[in-house]
Each structure stands twice: as structure tokens, then as C-alpha cells.
Amino acid sequence: MKLSRRCFLSFVAGGAAGTALSPLPWKLTDDLSIWSQNWPWTPVPPDGEGTYTLSTCTLCPGGCGISVRKIDDRAIKIEGAKGHPLNDGGVCILGLSGLQLLYGPTRIQAPMKRVGDRGQGRWQTISWKQAIAEVAGKLKEIRDQGAPQSVACIAPKDVGTVAQLLSRLLSAYGSPNFLRMPSVEDAYEAAIYLTQGATGAAGVDVENADFILSFGSAILDGYGSPVRMFKANSKMKELHGTVVQVESRLSNTAAKADQWLAVKPGSEADLAMAMANVIISQVAFDQDFIANKVDGFEAFARMVQDKYAPETVAQKTGIDSETISKIALQFAAARKPLALCGKGKGQTPGSLKEALAIHALNALVGNINRSGGVQALAAYDYINWPDIETDSVAAAGLQKMRLDGAGSDSLPHVRYLTHRLANIADGVQALLVAETNPCHSLPDTQAVKAAFDKIPFVVSFSSFMDETAMNADLILPNHIYLERFEDVPVTAGVARPTVGLCRPIVNPLYNTQHLGDSIMQIAKALGGTIAGAFPWEDYETCLKMTLRDQWGTLAKKGVWMAPNATRTGFETAPGKFVMMNDDMGAIYMADDVALQGGDDAYPLVLIPYDSIRLASRYIGDTPFMVKTVSDTVIKGQHGFVDINPETAKRLGLADGQLAKLTTPVGEATVGVHFEYGIMPGVVAMPRGLGHTAYDAFLAGKGVNVNQLIGPVEDPASGLDAAWGIGAKLA
């Protein structure tokens, strides 16, 4: 007993000492640390040969040049293309995170056919052959019923080969119902047409302006070609130019502006008129331009003097007459003054009256068709395809009125009224959706969803499983911009026609197909004159033939910009800039855009605001972008509204608390964020949140402001001019 214990204890002690002295524990310690430095579940990116490829970003209308860094066949970084006329090396937060879209989890990887109910998300993968056949079959069926006009198509733009192929398909097929997503371009084009007689977008020469008077345009949050605007703003700082921001909320643009005019939302047109009044009565306008190049000045002058005296407007705008006069005179006194139109990123058209009034300011200072001013952008005329032979069915269909009523006798000044989708659904038997997400980005989401439910056949060409794709019957996924060729003509306010070339950086990752090819294949499947309208064997051939002249430049530089051709003269009847005539008189006399729910039931005004950190068009916010969003905008799943602390306290709301936001259109639970930089009585909510589709990095975060705001038509033009909506927060 004693012996054994002795042995035992000595054995234990000896054993312990022995092990400690042996190399074993030390080797083990070392190996463990080395293992901890090479955990197999922490990725090690493979190295390889590095290259850069020039291309063009299509994630927003900006058309920036990008330079993509690759390691072997992996794209690893997107940078701005140096020397590009629009963004010269700069790049925005969305452009930077494009690779998260390319390699992201929400890509649609093959053509799909709905098997469950709409929006249920139950799909069956099908072959391209079958996908094309199904679309063509359905279109043929509709055509055979003699109702080709009941096929509509929504696209983000109407310029460029892909958009043109789409509308060409509709024309050959026999439908006038090509719809372009709403934007301030709708209003600008109308204003340009009325005043200058030119068709086409407005080009603003911000680079050469020295005084920018922005009526709520988010110069620093994605307006126009965003990086170009950033650069212009920085140049203004360097040259000590002046930026005046007219807005009811201290947006980034307002925060960086030299002066922030906190105007009551919705009264911008009046402010512009009052400023015109001041400029005219002080004879501060460009007398030479007015005398020789303007028609209808007296009538215009009379109107503003009768109706828009600063003193009367002060009340309505909340800006005292002294300030109005001061800014107006500063504007007129500037060397290159420039008034900008279009709220936020310019995703809503706004009222035509407002656009005309602001454009009139530019005319008063003679800042039309000259450097540092506004001009009608020369149309993109590089697409010269043979005329379409239309058969009898097509001819008949094309005779029909557009379903949205744009261009009709009652609404002659506008080309698209896409916000009316909700009302015209009954007339639509098939809807083709190309690179847009109307189910999220059109106002009054519920109504749009209801419209989709009415439309029997919806085809989405989306590359991502967005809200609209979720509500489609067929998805024919397009390559994303990093996998395809495409010409990118820029209309977003550029002063000179600019075409970028989007080209494949990587081979298509999935079983997707170029939208251009899908269109041609559908046409070919439909046969007859429709097939005949598409003489090319595939999209790439079509593109190269179309661009024959510029192809060389584009392939080399990635971008082509028209030589500086400022227009001279005006295509109007009097050959002058028309400041006032009967049409415009009617527009100026038309009622203001009413505020929906502007009564006691809704004591507050909800306005949407745009942030460059929140993608709010077709593309959803990337994980990287969401990561940069402040916790006063999104916290957990909750979205926050900005409200002035005084208003909030009056309503008994505490900073950070949750509350119910109700408008005539809908209601939502939101977080309350105190912000002194917002007008009392106003609550602001960002665009681009509240997605139900996409992945967990974006879905379910915040509220889609379009659920709470519906379209309000401008009595003069029919365009959606909603700038806010009555709201209740409790």
C-alpha cells in the first residue's frame, strides 16, 4: 500500500516533468498557432496576372467610365477611368461596388418560368429556346387577336441600341406603348421643346458655371451624372463660385452650398417666378439676349409682375423678400449663372410650370445655348437603321392612342406618362420589363402591384431577382453590364453628346443572354415583317454596324464625345427663345400641384429625399453601400425618418423611438431621428429602402417611400409632380 502510493506519486511527478521537458508540448503550441494563422475557412485569394480593362458603368444614367482590375479571369476592383470626359478617374459608391452585383447572390442564373403564384418565388428553370418560344407564342397570340397595342414595354431610357431595339420591336409588332421610367427629363424635354423648339434632353454646362441656383437638385447626391456633378462642385469651390440650394431639408448639397434657402416644399416655381420678377424689375437681365433672341418677354414680364411680387411670394415660400431679391440679383450679376431643375436625383418629373419658370431664369440672364449655360442636347443620331415595313396589323395597332395618353390633344407636351401604369393595366395584355424595377421605384407601390396582378403576361429581362422579376411570369435574364457589350449614350444633363462603351470584363457567369439578342430572337420567332425589321444575326454585329464610325474610338478609349457644338438659333416658330405664348400661358396659369392629404388629418408633410449611399433606381443597394448607411437611417431592420426636434417634441416623440407614419396612400412603422437641419412640420424619408426582394443584406431594411407616396399629376402636363404628401406621425 505505502509502496504503491510512493511509486504512484513519483510516477505522476516524473511523468509530468518528463512531458514538460520533452519537445512535444512546445511543438504542439507552435503548430496550433500556425493553424490559427491559416484557418481553412478564411479565404486566400489566388494570385495571378493583373490587368485593367476600360468599360462604362450602366448602374445609373451617369455613364461614367470605369477601369476594372482583373487577376486572371477574376474581376477584383472597379475604379474610375482616368481621363474620361465625365468622371475623370472619380467613381461613385455604387460604381465602386459593382462587383458585389456581378458575383452577388441575387443574380438570376438561367431563364425561369413561374410555377407558383405571382410573387411566391417558385420558379422552374427552362432553356433559352423554350423561353423565347413562350414569349413569342404569347405575343403571336395577342397579335392574332388583333390587339398588338395591348403589348407594352417599360425601359429605363429610350436612347441607345438596346432601347431602340425594344421600341423597334414594339413598332414592328404594332404597339405605340413604349414606356420610359419617369424622370425630370420628361419635364425638361417638354420645357426645351416649348421654349427652344428642339427635341432632346437638356444639357447643363455645370463645369463652366460660376453661380449655380439649384431648385432642390441633389448635385451631391446623385443628380445628373453624379461624379461629374461632384467634380463641378469641387471646381466651384476652387474658383470661389457660388452654389445656392433651394430645399426644405439640409441635404448634403444644401450643407455644402454657399447658401441654403430653406423653402417651403412645393413653392419652388413661385420662388423662381419671384426671382424673375426681381431680375426684370431691376433690369438686371441680359438686355441683348432678351431684345434679340427672346419672344414673348413682355407677356412673361407682365405675368410675373402681376402675380409674383417677392412680398406676396415670401409668405408662400417662407423666404423673406429681401433674400429673394438678394439671391435673384446675385444670380443675375454672376458671369455664368445657371439655374437647375429637378428635385433630388431627378427621379420624378415635377411640374412643367416649375421647369419653365426655372428655365426662364436661365433665359433672363441669356444663359441659353452657350458655355456655362443650358442648351438642347443634340440628339443621338448614330442609329440609322432601315425603316420598318409595318404590316396591316402593325399599322392598325400603331394608329391607336398610347394607353398612357401622352402626346394626346389634352396632354400634347409630354412623351411618356409612365406613372399611369397603375391606371392603364386593363388595356395591357403583355408587359415587357427591361432593366427597370417599377414594382419598387414607381410611386404608390400597392397600386403598381395591383396593376401587375391585372396584366396577364409579364416578362422580366432583369439580371437580379428584384421586386418586378418576382412578379413576372417569365424571366429572361440579361447579362449584367460587366458581361456584355452595349452603347451608353448619356442624357443625364451632359452638355455634349457622350457615348460610352460598355464591354464584357468577364465571360458571363451564368446561363444569361444579352437583352439585345433576346429581342432579336423574339422578333425572329414572330417572323414576317417583325423578323424582317431585325436584319442582324446578333446584337454584337448590330452594335458594331450601328456604331461603324465611332466603333474604333469607342473600342480604344471606351468613350466618344461629340465635338463642342453649341447650338445657335432656335427651332421655334418665331425662331427665337419663346418665353411666353398661348401654350405656355395656359401652363403658367394652371393650378399648382395639390398636396395629397394636405388637411388636418395629416398635419405633417412627408418628403422623399435621395442619398447617393442608397441606390434608388433599377439597381438595389449593395452590401458595401448598406454598410456605409448611418445608424440614424437604418438600425437593425428599421428605417428612420428625419424630423425637426421641435416638431417631434410637439408630437410627443422621442429621438430614436419607433412610431407609425400614416399617409393617404399607406402606413409604415418608422424610427424617429431628430435632425435640426429639416424644416419644422416636415418629415423626410430616403428613397431606395424597403426592398422585399434581393438578399438579406438589403431585403426588409427600412421602408419604401413609394408605399407612402402616390403620383399627383401636374394639371398642365399630366406628369407626376408629387413633391410630398400629407402625413401623420404617432
Partner: protein, 434 residues
């Protein structure tokens, strides 16, 4: 059944009751171990810490237990180096408590670091300018010393002692103990100090930053001093608690009074120095960095000037005075109260030096950062307490921790019974200890 292992001439409760006690405390321990494993397997995201609170509850616990464990090195210093021989009657327990505190500290650190498997890099790639390096080295060295001081105690177990080699080993270790104790004191001086330095050198953190003497900020000396001052108080408190729980007198009053008196004087002198340091910081150091001292105690839901009162007056001057004034010192209630206040004071000091330092906004546009520990952090912080209780239970049962116990508690037949009656109660009380 285990009577053969129990020291001769002392009475212990029956094995089942002892085991029951172990199970109760073991339960708490188990929860702690589970939380520890979560921290290791899932990572530190299970804690309440964030990028503003890289240091939090755990670091506080480390600083606190090491301060309280300071009783070991200081008593050792007093006995073996300065020659206060009476302390030999309590030194064993001081060593045991120290051993528990330091092993706990090391365990907590092992949970606290993000990469425990490479934590030895702190030695291998040592940056000698870092206070934490100094802490790591001295801490582990001193832990070795404590182990060396604890081993002979284990060897004195009745059965082990029968092995001649172990008997000799224990005897010889006692012989050489002065050397080890001296080395221990030397090491302790530095690691206690460098623990203070950890906060004091943060010149980016105006709340913690202090002026330097040579390379050492004032807090370096204050921490050593406070550990030497409050450590013995903790030893005394635990001893008192053990006596309460075992219903026995284990250490003679004169020994207790002696240690209490020394602790008292150390506390008083420390708190005077601490007050001077605080005033200098309020009116020189902080303003030089652009802060009014009041700023650190405003505009936040928790830290206000009560902290200063609680730490310096309530946890400093009060216990100090109670312990140096003979009548109050020799009044058990007041003495124990004093030690308790002291423990509170030094723990609060360690708390603010870590957590308030992290909470204070330094960038003018930043805001106060508050912090709530997760249950895993709390469980892993209680874990060492349970472990300590268990080690004390075992050591007390099988080792002659208290040399005076036999003399103070002569065995008489009928005492045995009463022991057995009390024992269960004692076991249940155990978890409350330490």
C-alpha cells in the same frame, strides 16, 4: 473515508457533506466553463464588447483580483524579507488566496484575447515598451513563484508528507522560501505597477493618462501601492469569512491586528498619494489635453462625481482610518466593514481606470459609449470565484493551512458531533465566499 488525508488533530465535516458542497459550487463552475467554451468556439462576438470597449469586464476582473491577490506578495515580503514573523500564521492562506487570484487572472486573460492559441506571442515577440508585456512576464513569473510557495503546503498533506523525498522537498523549499518571496515581491512590484501603467500610458485617453516618473506613469506606483495596501485587507476578509463559515477561530487576533494595522497604514498613505494624483490630474494633466475634469463626470447615464467620493473617501480614507485606529481595528465588526469598504474602493478604482476610460469620448464630435456585459462575460467572471472556493475547500480540508487551528480548536469528543451539525450549513454558505 478520506480521514487518512485530513491533517491530524483537526476536525472536518463528513465526506458526503463535503462532496455535496463541491457539487453546489461545481454547478456554478460548470456554467462558467460552458460560457468559456462559447467564447472560444463562437468567438468574442458573444460578449457585450465592441470596438469602443476592447477592454471591459474581464480586464477589470483581472486588475481587481490581482490587486486583491496582492496580499500574498506583501505578506510574503513582510514575513520573509522584513521579518514580521507573526505573519507565518496567516501567510499560508495569503499564499493560497494569491494563487487563486493569479491563476484566475491568467484564465480570464486566456478567454479575453481573440487568438488564445497564439497568446504566447506576447512572450516570443515581446515589445518591451508595452506595459502589457511587462504585465505578462511578471504575472506569469510571479505565478510560478506562487506555485512554488503553494507546493510545500500541498506536500505537507499527511500522506504525501510520508514520502521522504516530498518531505525533504517541502522542508528545503521552506528553507529557500525567503529567496522566492523576495523575487516574488520584486516581480509583483513591477506587474502590479505595469497594470497601473496599462491605463496611465494611454496619452490618447485623457481620462486615464498620467504624467510619468522615468518611464512610469503615476498610476504605476499607485497600483503597486494600492495592491500592497488592499491585498492584506482582502486576505483578512477571506480569513474572517472562512472562520465564520467553519465556525472556528483559525488565526489569533494579534496576527489579524498586526496585518490589519499594516494594511490600514498602507491604505491611508496610498489614498493620500491617490488624492494628490487626482488633484494634479484635475488641474494640470487633463486641462493640458483640453478637458475640464468635470467633463469626465457629465452627460452620461452612469459616471458622475459619486465615483470620486466612493473611491477616495468611502473606499480609502474611511477604511484606512478604521484600520489604523486601535479601538476600531480591534472591533471585529468595524474591522471587517473596513476591509469590505477597502475591497470596494480598490475594485472601483480598477473599474474606472478600465471602463470609464473607454466610455469617455475623446473626439469632440464623438459621444459617451456605455456597455452592458453579456451573460457569457459575467459567467466567466464568476467562474474563477467558484474555482477559488473549491480550491479553498479542498486545501482547507486536506492541508494544514492554518498552523494555529489545532491549538485554537482542541479536539474533545463531543465537539465532533457539533461539527457534523454545522458542516452542511457551512457547505451551503461556501459559494458566497471570495
Amino acid at each position: 473515508m478520506d480521514s487518512a488525508l485530513i491533517p491530524e488533530g483537526v476536525k472536518r465535516c463528513s465526506l458526503p457533506k463535503f462532496l455535496l458542497g463541491l457539487v453546489v459550487v461545481g454547478g456554478v463552475l460548470a456554467v462558467g466553463v460552458y460560457a468559456m467554451l462559447e467564447c472560444w468556439i463562437k468567438g468574442l462576438n458573444v460578449t457585450g464588447m465592441n470596438d469602443y470597449y476592447g477592454f471591459a469586464l474581464w480586464i477589470w476582473a483581472d486588475l481587481a483580483v490581482i490587486a486583491l491577490g496582492g496580499g500574498a506578495f506583501f505578506s510574503g515580503l513582510l514575513k520573509y524579507v522584513i521579518g514580521k514573523d507573526d505573519l507565518k500564521y496567516i501567510i499560508n492562506y495569503a499564499v493560497l488566496i494569491g494563487f487563486i487570484c493569479y491563476s484566475s487572472a491568467l484564465l480570464i486573460l486566456a478567454i479575453d484575447v481573440g487568438q488564445p492559441l497564439r497568446s504566447w506571442f506576447i512572450f516570443w515577440h515581446a515589445n518591451v515598451h508595452s506595459m502589457l508585456t511587462e504585465v505578462a512576464f511578471c504575472l506569469s513569473c510571479y505565478f510560478a513563484v506562487l506555485t512554488i510557495e503553494y507546493i510545500p503546503l500541498i506536500l505537507e498533506n499527511r500522506q504525501i508528507d510520508k514520502v521522504p523525498f516530498f518531505h525533504n522537498l517541502s522542508h528545503n523549499m521552506h528553507g529557500a522560501m525567503a529567496v522566492f518571496a523576495a523575487t516574488g515581491a520584486f516581480l509583483s512590484f513591477f506587474h502590479q505597477g505595469s497594470l497601473g501603467g496599462v491605463a496611465g500610458v494611454l496619452f490618447g485617453r485623457p481620462f486615464a493618462f498620467r504624467e510619468h516618473i522615468l518611464i512610469w506613469p503615476f498610476t504605476f506606483f499607485l497600483f503597486t501601492w494600492s495592491a500592497a495596501a488592499y491585498g492584506p485587507s482582502f486576505t483578512l476578509f477571506i480569513t474572517w469569512l472562512t472562520e465564520k463559515i467553519t465556525r472556528k477561530k483559525l488565526v489569533k487576533d494579534n496576527v489579524v491586528y498586526l496585518l490589519a494595522k499594516i494594511s490600514g497604514w498602507m491604505i491611508i498613505t496610498y489614498i493620500i498619494a491617490k488624492s494628490a494624483d487626482t488633484l494634479y490630474w484635475m488641474y494640470n494633466t487633463a486641462p493640458a489635453q483640453g478637458f475640464n475634469w468635470t467633463f469626465f463626470y457629465e452627460n452620461n447615464p452612469f459616471y458622475a462625481q459619486w465615483v470620486l467620493f466612493a473611491e477616495i473617501i468611502l473606499g480609502g480614507f474611511v477604511p484606512g482610518l478604521l484600520l489604523i485606529i486601535k479601538p476600531t481595528r480591534e472591533n471585529t465588526f468595524l474591522r471587517v466593514t473596513a476591509t469590505l469598504l477597502g475591497i470596494m474602493g480598490v475594485s472601483l478604482n480598477r473599474w474606472v481606470m478600465v471602463l470609464q476610460t473607454m466610455a469617455v469620448p475623446v473626439l469632440s464630435f464623438d459621444s459617451w459609449a456605455m456597455y452592458i456585459p453579456s451573460w457569457q462575460e459575467i459567467a466567466t467572471t464568476i467562474l474563477p470565484v467558484a474555482y477559488g472556493v473549491i480550491l479553498i475547500m479542498i486545501s482547507y480540508r486536506y492541508l494544514p493551512i492554518f498552523p494555529q487551528e489545532r491549538e485554537l480548536n482542541p479536539l474533545d469528543p463531543d465537539a465532533a458531533e457539533s461539527e457534523n451539525k454545522e458542516a452542511p450549513a457551512a457547505d451551503k454558505l461556501q459559494p458566497a465566499e471570495a
